[in-house]
């Protein structure tokens, strides 16, 4: 009997079977759907952008960790997710070195500088995109194509902002048949992927719901050309990177609040800022900046939304 050597640890001795790589795998599954859709819509170019971006993200992470003699954790999937999301935010005609540099910046400066997975305060993909928009504005804000036919065209948000061109039909927007970044157009597929993640309990529905809801509300109230309450809600919701951002970027665990109320505030804030920038700002699209700004506020949101423990009726007087 005494031959047995028991592991002695403190309770609990039981763990859930969900672990970080599995959660990342679910996200990758959902993003893979989007990647397939964008390849169908924009062809080989989309595939090339995705490939380069993901490879750059993986290579950047591996090289950095090798250089610092840290264990290489590319296998956890987080770098691949960043690479995919950066690729999805590229115009179809972007030069391939742009997503490569964006991924490298996202992984190294935004994530690894702060200690790697779990320690960054900003969503790497969103920050990477914002970096690219400021660094090479021309490459990032031109080169739009309509899917399949390869004709250059303005994006719906540019049209809403006053550029010449016509708005696609609602069903075309849903299927992704419109000009835009390669991964943001296929609304239906993004919706399916997002709902899959909610079903798998990977992401909290509160953030996408409050995010999209707030944008829709503001678009309806202030977005119209013939006075209040005449805005084109559907176009606003389906265009730009709103769905992609709401389901895949604003819900990033690391850079969104951990409390339930905090997540609701995160979504509301993202929606408010997106509407602000879209309707009255200098850029046609505000999703990325809205997410980044709320990332910046996340530590404070967490701080202010720490719940009162069970059984505490009044605020405890500390001292």
């Amino acid at each position: 009997m005494t031959d047995y050597k028991f592991v002695v640890g403190s309770s609990p001795h039981l763990r859930t079977s969900e672990n970080t790589p599995r959660l990342m795998f679910y996200v990758l599954q959902a993003l893979f759907l989007v990647a397939v859709a964008s390849t169908i819509l924009f062809g080989v170019r989309a595939m090339a952008i995705i490939g380069v971006s993901v490879l750059a993200a993986l290579a950047a992470e591996a090289l950095w960790q090798k250089g610092l003699r840290q264990p290489v954790t590319v296998a956890d999937g987080s770098a691949a997710i960043t690479g995919l999301l950066i690729a999805f935010n590229m115009p179809p005609l972007v030069p391939l070195w742009v997503p490569a540099l964006g991924s490298a910046f996202a992984v190294i400066v935004v994530k690894q500088f702060f200690g790697g997975l779990g320690h960054n305060f900003m969503n790497p993909a969103a920050a990477g995109r914002a970096f690219l928009v400021s660094a090479w504005p021309l490459a990032m804000t031109s080169g739009w194509l309509t899917p399949f036919d390869g004709a250059t065209s303005a994006t719906p948000l540019q049209v809403l902002g006053g550029s010449s061109g016509s708005l696609p039909e609602g069903w075309q927007m849903l299927m992704g048949w419109r000009a835009g970044c390669i991964g943001e157009t296929s609304a239906l597929v993004i919706l399916i992927g997002g709902l899959y993640l909610i079903y798998r309990q990977v992401i909290d529905w509160k953030i996408p719901a409050s995010f999209i809801g707030t944008v829709a509300l503001f678009a309806w109230v202030f977005g119209g050309t013939d006075g209040w309450f005449t805005g084109d809600v559907l176009t606003h919701v389906l265009s730009g990177g709103l769905l992609l951002g709401a389901f895949f970027m604003a819900t990033d665990y690391v850079t969104s609040p951990v409390t339930k109320r905090g997540r609701l505030i995160m979504g509301l804030g993202c929606g408010l800022l997106t509407a602000l920038i879209r309707l009255w700002g200098g850029y046609p699209e505000g999703v990325t900046y809205a997410i980044l700004l709320m990332n910046v506020a996340t530590p404070l949101i967490d701080r202010m939304t720490i719940p009162r423990p069970f059984g505490t009726r009044q605020t405890k007087v500390t001292g």
Partner: protein
């Protein structure tokens, strides 16, 4: 309308920290935790609003009419340091409670180039006394927003495993840079106001 434009501009678009590089020393120095950052912010709000108003008054009453604008630098810095002194003494007498909470931050403000900067900007923009005070207030509000957000992130970074070489100031600067990227989103906001 102009007041709204100045406020929006000062807080979001031309943020002292993220767009104008003013007040960086205390921004990095007094942002270890949110409480300190809030205390400093209150002190800065107070002093900066007053300093911008008083220097604008000095400019429009004395320096400009008598062709003494070349004395701007000397007079402004003297006015600001004596103002800080005065505020400190006044607070100690008038409101010991407020003094206790703001007291330690007040001496640090003299070296806060944001105060002097806001005063200089106001004069250069040709604002009158009232608008100068609003401009000072807006600038201080933007600075406060920046430092409080920054302090929140730094509290979190305390728990992060930042690589050795980046620990402390380097990662603080990179953080500020990333925050500045986020604030770029406000560029061109409400352009019709300006």
């Amino acid at each position: 309308m102009e007041i709204i434009a100045i406020l929006l501009g000062g807080v979001l678009i031309n943020n002292l920290v993220f767009a104008q590089f003013l007040g960086l020393c205390p921004f990095v120095g007094v942002s270890k935790n949110v409480e300190m950052a809030t205390g400093m912010s209150a002190a800065v709000l107070f002093v900066m609003t007053m300093a911008a108003g008083v220097t604008a008054l000095l400019h429009s009453l004395v320096l400009d009419p008598y062709g003494l604008t070349y004395l701007e630098t000397v007079t402004f810095i003297l006015v600001i340091s004596s103002l800080v002194q005065f505020v400190e003494t006044f607070l100690r007498k008038a409101s010991p409670v407020l003094h206790r909470s703001l007291g330690i931050y007040l001496p640090l403000i003299t070296t806060n180039c944001a105060v002097m900067g806001a005063a200089l900007i106001s004069v250069r923009q040709g604002y009158g006394v009232g608008l100068s005070a609003v401009n000072g207030f807006a600038g201080a509000l933007g600075w406060s927003l920046a430092i409080i957000l920054f302090a929140g992130i730094r509290e979190r970074l305390e728990l992060a495993s930042v690589p050795e070489a980046l620990k402390g100031i380097p990662v603080a600067l990179v953080t500020t840079g990333l925050m500045a990227i986020a604030f770029l989103g406000f560029q061109g906001l409400f352009r019709f106001l300006f």
